[in-house]
């Protein structure tokens, strides 16, 4: 079981790493566009599409990784007064019984849209570049799928008592006062 959960974590980690790489490319493509337009007076026709597609892909490829890190904000000032066991059961139930199925259906739709876009050679609707859409849709579908797996893994961890909601470390640690 633990190995299975670790494997899911590993997949989310890889998706997260891909998102990080995409963020680097996002910075690069926007800078390229700024330089091309301002310095060389020759804006690209692709930077706009690439940028929004990268941002969307980053978001979904990183969503599972953010879930793994428990980065999705909760309001826990009431719930944190409940016994930890109750908190874990509530979260496990909602993740496994509600959210995982919902995201599984979104993943299925995402895959369907990807296949359809591939078959019909769907292109961007308003862009002069008119790129094919299926790679973007595929990234969204992949992100949703990984998110589904991670929701199940988190639910299992909560249920097994390996992890508690809101217990993960924070982005900033307390700073020593002078």
């Amino acid at each position: 079981m633990t190995r299975l959960l670790d494997a899911v974590d590993g997949i989310s980690g890889i998706a997260g790493a891909i998102a990080m790489a995409m963020l680097a490319v996002l910075v690069g493509s926007m800078i390229f566009e700024v330089v091309a337009r301002y310095v060389f007076g020759a804006p690209t026709i692709w930077a706009f599409d690439i940028s929004y597609m990268l941002n969307g892909s980053i978001f979904l490829m990183g969503a599972a990784y953010a879930l793994k890190a428990d980065a999705h904000v909760r309001i826990d000032f009431l719930s944190s007064r409940l016994p930890e066991r109750v908190q874990r059961i509530v979260n496990a139930a909602v993740y496994a019984l509600v959210l995982a199925p919902v995201f599984a259906i979104f993943s299925y739709i995402g895959i369907e849209k990807t296949v359809k876009a591939y078959r019909t050679a769907e292109v961007e609707m308003v862009s002069p570049w008119a790129p094919l859409m299926w790679p973007f849709y595929a990234a969204l579908a992949a992100g949703l799928l990984v998110m589904t797996l991670q929701l199940l893994a988190e639910a299992a961890r909560f249920a097994l008592g390996h992890k508690s909601p809101g217990s993960t470390e924070h982005e900033l640690e307390d700073t020593e006062a002078l």
Partner: protein
């Protein structure tokens, strides 16, 4: 009510296009069907993504949708002929072609066969503003190396025939980038619609006429099954409501444009009207784009675009000669 349709559109609720086309259509349907059919309009992005209206209707998420063939041009350039393209017919010629010259029927057949949708024209627009510009544009050469926010067919013509640089700018950032001279020129919509965007406040030149988009066409699409399930009297009334909407919207556009042009004249913006010879060159470049697209489709074994384009260009030529008798105001 017997029928309720949720109808999303590609423009924001309350915007000029929304009020003039979709909200007007909803009112007209209500009146002509004595309230038996309710059209529930939804602004862009509220129910379905702004540019996915056609797909949402095909998927059955909503019963009907309101959008323009312009958004389908990248997928199939045949749509450009129905939506109007650079060098295409004037607004009144388009209106006449659609309702009297068989254009609307061709569009309906095209939608039915290609997408399984029943199409009704609900809006024919007036000519757009060719550009709000930081540079004076007077000759064809002035378009060379021009950083110009535009899209669709005009972007292709600009790049391939005029040596310009089409630039993609998201709608919310056009004003800022024009103001700060990140782009030299932008095209957006009609005078009556542009005036509220305030581009003339930041760019000193307004260039006419809008040969890149002499008019534009909006339609309401309904899934074939949904449409066929309607009783015949309702079908007729909804079709009539659509046609009434087109005519009412058209004169409303014209009136708003006239008032906007009066207002532009009172500002510091310099209005430049291109010489007929320049206009002719731009329009021919546009028509040549359309012919190339049709040839490419024909080479792929799809003859439809070529046929529709031929019909369209013939009508344009006949209109050019046959409408000379019309009295033009101002001369």
């Amino acid at each position: 009510q017997e029928v309720t349709w949720r109808v999303p559109t590609s423009v924001p609720e309350g915007s000029f296009f929304y009020n003039n086309f979709l909200a007007r259509f909803a009112d007209n349907v209500d009146r002509l069907t004595d309230g038996r059919v309710e059209i529930q309009p939804f602004g862009a992005g509220v129910v379905v993504p702004a540019l996915k209206v056609y797909e949402a209707v095909q998927d059955g998420v909503v019963e009907a949708g309101h959008s323009t063939p312009s958004y389908l041009v990248n997928q199939d350039p045949t749509n450009a002929i129905f939506a109007s393209f650079p060098g295409g017919m004037s607004a009144e010629a388009t209106l006449t072609w659609l309702y009297e010259g068989g254009g609307a029927k061709e569009l309906a057949e095209f939608r039915k066969e290609e997408m399984g949708l029943h199409s009704m024209v609900v809006g024919v627009g007036t000519s757009e503003v060719l550009a709000h510009s930081n540079k004076p544009l007077k000759t064809v050469e002035d378009f060379e190396n021009l950083k110009y926010r535009t899209s669709g067919a005009w972007a292709a013509v600009l790049k391939e025939d005029l040596g310009g640089v089409p630039t993609v700018v998201p709608p919310g950032e056009i004003y800022t980038l024009l103001q700060r001279k990140g782009v030299d020129a932008v095209e957006w919509a009609t005078p009556g619609s542009n005036i509220t965007e305030g581009f003339h406040e930041v760019a000193p030149y307004l260039i006419l006429p809008g040969v890149h988009q002499p008019t534009f066409v909006w339609e309401v699409v309904v899934k074939e099954d949904t449409w066929n399930a309607l009783p015949d009297d309702l079908k007729t009334k909804i079709e009539l409501a659509a046609k009434l909407t087109t005519y009412e919207g058209f004169t409303h556009f014209l009136d708003a444009d006239m008032k906007a042009m009066e207002e532009f004249a009172g500002t510091n913006v310099e209005i430049i009207t291109l010489e007929p010879e320049v206009v002719g060159k731009l329009r021919e470049a546009g028509r040549s784009w359309a012919r190339k697209q049709a040839d490419a489709k024909a080479a792929d074994g799809d003859q439809r675009m070529g046929e529709v384009l031929k019909d369209y260009l013939d009508y344009q030529a006949r209109w050019t000669d046959g409408s000379k008798y019309l009295v033009r105001d101002g001369n």
